[in-house]
């Protein structure tokens, strides 16, 4: 009996908690990465981080990603999921629009492509002179986009990268929400239809509250993925942080600091900060969900 409890616990401690503890320890040293010895320097790395403009820019970028990527992905995925499941013709049984199976399948396609490939494809699409996007824009007469560097301008680099990340995620979350919506009894939709609710009202008052837990989970997963974003950003901006570092993410900064500058202690401190931000993000999402749920329950 004890074995079943102790063994998993030991594995968990050894392979999860212990590395965490070690990472925290290394973040308090000046370890360069290639020596068996290091000096303990207390919180110096964290003080230095707070004054590191590049790192703070990366934190800011990650926060932007953590807000917009999950929000937009979930809104769009929810709309698609509603349309292909319950927002179909207003006569007959509750169903999606015509051809919904096709849309559902197609929306899943991007998710089948590895993130690194998505990044590489889109960096070609965004190419200033040979890219599909500018090719299309200039062919319909928008000549100011000739040689326009979508990934090279401060104003467009971040939105363009967010679009790529969102494009990659939407399919999966659509499928997730479709499954969730299908578990809501059709009678409820029939009842609100009889009451004359519009499709928007149906989505807002019936669908959304019914799949709240799925959305919360999706939000947290997406947020964690967005806070990382390493693969997408590295593919879109190899070697650098985008124009004026506007797309630099913490994990890229960490990678550079550790593997290019040989400051492993400092880089580990970045990792610890990223972990703290991720935990904080999850806590905020839980908090918001709990708050809104409390209000609705109070009302009913």
């Amino acid at each position: 009996m004890a074995v079943f409890l102790i063994l998993p616990l030991a594995i968990f401690l050894l392979f999860v908690i212990w590395p965490f503890v070690q990472a925290i320890y290394y973040s308090l040293t000046d370890w360069g990465g290639f020596s068996p010895t290091m000096n303990f320097i207390g919180f110096d790395n964290f003080v230095k981080l707070a004054n590191d403009d590049t790192f703070m820019q990366a934190v800011f970028n990650c926060i932007l990603l953590g807000i917009f990527v999950p929000l937009i992905t979930i809104v769009v995925a929810l709309i698609i999921a509603s349309v292909v499941t319950v927002a179909g013709p207003s006569k007959g049984t509750i169903r999606g629009v015509k051809g919904s199976g096709f849309y559902r399948t197609v929306s899943f396609f991007p998710y089948c492509i590895p993130a690194i490939v998505i990044g590489l494809i889109w960096s070609q699409v965004y190419d200033p002179s040979a890219g599909l996007l500018n090719g299309f824009l200039t062919s319909i007469g928008l000549h100011k986009f000739t040689n326009f560097a979508w990934l090279g301008e401060v104003a467009t680099a971040m939105p363009a990268s967010m679009f790529v990340i969102i494009w990659g995620f939407i399919g999966f979350y659509t499928v997730l929400f479709v499954a969730a919506i299908k578990s809501i009894p059709a009678e409820i939709y029939e009842a609100v239809r009889l009451d004359g609710a519009t499709r928007f009202r149906t989505a807002w008052s019936i669908t959304l509250p019914s799949i709240r837990d799925n959305i919360q989970t999706a939000y947290i997963y997406l947020g964690i993925a967005a806070l990382d974003s390493f693969v997408y950003m590295s593919a879109l901006f190899p070697n650098a942080g985008g124009p004026a570092n506007t797309t630099l993410v913490i994990s890229q900064d960490l990678f550079n600091t550790a593997f290019r500058k040989g400051q492993f202690g400092y880089a580990t401190a970045m990792g610890v900060v990223l972990a703290a931000i991720t935990l904080l993000f999850a806590a905020i999402v839980f908090g918001i969900v709990r708050l809104t749920k409390g209000r609705e329950e109070g009302r009913s």
């Binding site: 070690q22 990465g33 200033p128 002179s129 560097a149 124009p243």
Partner: protein, 483 residues
């Protein structure tokens, strides 16, 4: 991109400015890079604490066993017969089989058993072995993920005895080399890295295109501006840049400023001095470059263009007529160079015609740093392979198969094995004589990534000279603070 270099670089992910390298960026290399991204991502996200813990668990010393042979004039490092030697070689644009070639010569001579292993991620793969005290005997510490020299300096052998030894033809090795080749491998006055490949930094152009149009490569920035106007008249641009290689223009600008103002300019920058980037020659060059940017002589959109695609606009489409780069450019663009292009290099332009160093002065540096860890099992074996590489047979084999000069002089025939770029590199080196300089601060402190950001902004006209100077100085000051 340049890939690698000594301390540097690489690829796509890669880093740095540096020299040497040719490597990197051919198509096959891109594949490797992508893979290393993923690996890097994993390493960064997950594996750091784990590797670290494993590595630190095994930090035992191994000591230097194995150098049991007797030292003599014929056996300068005391290699033991029938011992085994392990070499880990960065597998980039130059491949690694040229080292196998040299190792075979050693094996034949000493009946040793050499293992030459290719590796694309030097830092990640060798980190645990350094920490554990059992590194290989010879390492080509190159590529995007090379180990920063400041982190391993203490655990490396000095290589002065290699250059003092005789090569396999019986000549003292140091007498057969280009000048200043020790410089890029010397850190804190310790010569620890033998940089094997001679990289010449130049402004490259198509000799055939220039002849057709009656153009000559510009010797000063004013001439460059004039040439830009002439190119514009033909519907062409003067320069092109790609987002991962924007700092090639940093190289050009700094080389130009060093020639204008002398080696003091370089030393200030190299030593990360305060206000180093405000020195007059550097400011003059920045202003000249800004004029060219403002005149619209750069192909727009470089900040969003993948660098090999940008380079193809010069070598294949001929939309741009000049491109600053290292000598690896010919190899890198081999498959994307127009027929009859006749790639030729010219030294960086100067600001005025009475610059401190002559126009022929050149940034030429040895790249591909080979190191011998002190804790390796067969230190003498590692040095013996170096000695073989620096001998005529192996060095000629390298130039012939890779179309790049090594640090060994006089092995490239007049026809350059059929390469106009190799011929012009040799010619530029000969013309420069002793006026050869090199700077390493960028790769030494891993600054290329930070520098790329501001250079992309500057070349696209989003940042002016003041912003560029401020940012370059800040990057330098930050590096000085973390020294």
């Amino acid at each position: 991109m340049r890939p690698c270099g000594r301390t540097r670089r690489t690829i796509n992910t890669y880093n740095t400015e540096k020299k040497g390298n040719t490597h990197t960026m051919t198509t096959e290399n891109r594949g490797v890079d992508r893979r290393s991204f993923l690996r890097g991502a994993m390493a960064a996200a997950v594996a750091v604490p784990i590797t670290v813990s494993l590595a630190s668990c095994s930090s035992g010393g191994s000591g230097d066993s194995g150098s049991g042979g007797t030292k003599s004039a014929k056996n300068p490092f005391g290699i033991k017969e029938s011992s085994s030697i392990e070499a880990v070689i960065f597998n980039g644009g130059y491949g690694y089989d040229y080292v196998s070639y040299a190792a075979k010569l050693v094996d034949k001579k000493w009946k040793t058993t050499s293992k030459v292993k290719p590796q694309t991620n030097i830092a990640q793969s060798l980190q645990p072995r350094f920490v554990g005290g059992n590194p290989p005997d010879l390492i080509d510490n190159s590529g995007a993920n090379q180990i920063g020299f400041n982190t391993i300096l203490k655990s490396l052998e000095t290589l002065d005895d290699v250059f003092a030894a005789n090569n396999y033809e019986g000549k003292k090795i140091s007498d057969t080399l280009y000048p200043n080749v020790k410089v890029p491998g010397t850190f804190s006055n310790k010569f620890v890295a033998m940089n094997y490949v001679m990289t010449v930094y130049a402004v490259w152009y198509s000799a055939s295109l220039f002849e057709e149009n009656g153009w000559t490569p510009p010797k000063t920035w004013d001439e460059a501006l004039d040439l830009g106007a002439k190119a514009k008249a033909k519907g062409k641009y003067l320069f092109v840049w790609g987002k991962e290689a924007a700092t090639y223009y940093l190289t050009l600008a700094l080389d130009s400023a060093i020639k204008e103002g002398g080696l003091d300019v370089m030393n200030a920058v190299n030593n990360l001095e305060k206000n180093a980037w405000s020195q007059k020659p550097i400011q003059d060059v920045f202003n000249a470059l800004e004029k060219i940017v403002k005149a619209g002589y750069f192909i727009p959109g470089g900040a969003g263009t993948q660098f090999t695609a940008a380079q193809a606009k010069w070598s294949n489409d001929q939309q741009a007529i000049l491109y600053p780069s290292g000598g690896w450019i010919e190899n890198e663009m081999k498959k994307a160079t127009k027929e009859g292009f006749k790639m030729t290099g010219a030294p960086a332009m100067t600001v005025t015609s009475d610059s401190k160093l002559p126009y022929e002065a050149l940034r030429a540096a040895a790249g591909e740093p080979y190191i011998v860890p002190s804790q390796g099992k067969n230190v003498a074996g590692g040095k013996e392979i170096m000695r073989a590489m620096l001998s005529k047979d192996a060095a000629t084999n390298f130039s012939k198969t890779r179309l790049a000069p090594t640090i060994v002089k006089g092995l490239v025939p007049a026809d350059g094995f059929g390469s106009t770029a190799l011929v012009s590199q040799t010619k530029m080196l000969d013309a420069a004589g002793d006026n050869i300089f090199d700077w390493e601060f960028s790769s030494l402190y891993g600054l290329n990534t930070d520098q790329l950001v501001i250079w992309n902004s500057f070349l696209s006209g989003q940042a002016d000279v003041a912003a560029l100077t401020k940012q370059m100085q800040k990057i330098s000051d930050d590096a000085a603070a973390s020294k």
